[in-house]
Symmetry: C2
Subunit: 149 residues, 2 copies
DNA sequence: ATGCTGTTGAAAGTCTATTGCAATAAAGAG
DNA sequence: CTCTTTATTGCAATAGACTTTCAACAGCAT
């Protein structure tokens, strides 16, 4: 898996060790279809027989986030969910953390939306207030294609 | 206070009673300079000698939110904070809940930004994925005017 | 293979938010 | 103004997400 090699390289670079639990979480996130919460990660890993403590999941998320490998979003509720970093700059600063999430009200599924033009628009609006933009979080709620039908 | 009258009218309209705790929370929010969390509300009220239980604060927030009088945002951390409703539609759906927050990384202050053009842009981008937009949350991080100086 | 030190797992703790229930008080009826 | 109904409050207990502490363990540099 390409992502795993990439991730391990960056972890090493940052002085982190490559451990079994870390590899497991990385693989899980790489396979995941959408953002995953800490408890979901633990349950999914345990389901495939890979024992891991919830505390470790949290710590691993923390180190992956520090390294810039994953990004945390606050999707539907108040639970943080993780996605591996996308690499599609949107024109805003924080190019490594560009996620515009579409969160479906009924099925809870989260899609990532690419919206390149939004950057300059927001940067300009913020600038008029003297605010220096560094990061952004954009979360949209509604009905996904399948649920709307 | 104009806001208090407005709020009481809307509560009555919606069939809610006007109680002392509710009046206190409404006044507090009307005076607040930025978004306030439930526990902050309780502490600030108790500090001025107005005893209130945290459970009631949560329930009151809920009823004010239902009535469209306040809006909850997830600012810096994972704690919900409340602001009284602005009345500046931005072109997105959810016209009563239009908040684009600028959150300062150093001082934590939150400013609301008005950005009218963003609506059609996002609606179009979401539509290409077949997503029916209903609500949005936009939170921008960075340095405010004062901290950047 | 060995030792140093970063990491893990388990238990207990913190913090935000919610639920159930008895006591209280708002608002309309008389 | 008092009574009655019923929404609302406060308290205690609970839920859920995340963190801290610390002993045991396992990378990895040598």
């Amino acid at each position: 898996m390409a992502y795993r090699a990439h991730a391990e390289a960056r972890l090493k670079e940052a002085g982190f060790r490559i451990t079994t639990p870390r590899r497991r979480v990385i693989d899980l996130l790489a396979e995941a279809v959408g953002p995953v919460s800490a408890y979901e990660m633990r349950d999914q890993l345990e389901a495939r027989g890979e024992r891991i403590d919830i505390v470790s999941v949290y710590r691993i998320i923390g180190c992956l986030e520090q390294t810039g490998l994953v990004h945390r979003i606050l999707s539907t509720g108040k639970v943080h969910r993780c996605v591996i970093e996308a690499h599609e700059p949107c024109g805003l600063p924080q190019p490594d953390h560009c996620h515009h999430s579409l969160i479906c009200r009924t099925c809870g599924r989260i899609e990532e939306m690419h919206c390149p033009d939004i950057g300059s628009l927001l940067a300009r609006a913020a600038a008029t207030l003297g605010f220096a933009l560094e990061s952004h979080r954009l979360e949209l709620g509604g009905l996904c294609k399948r649920c709307a039908a």
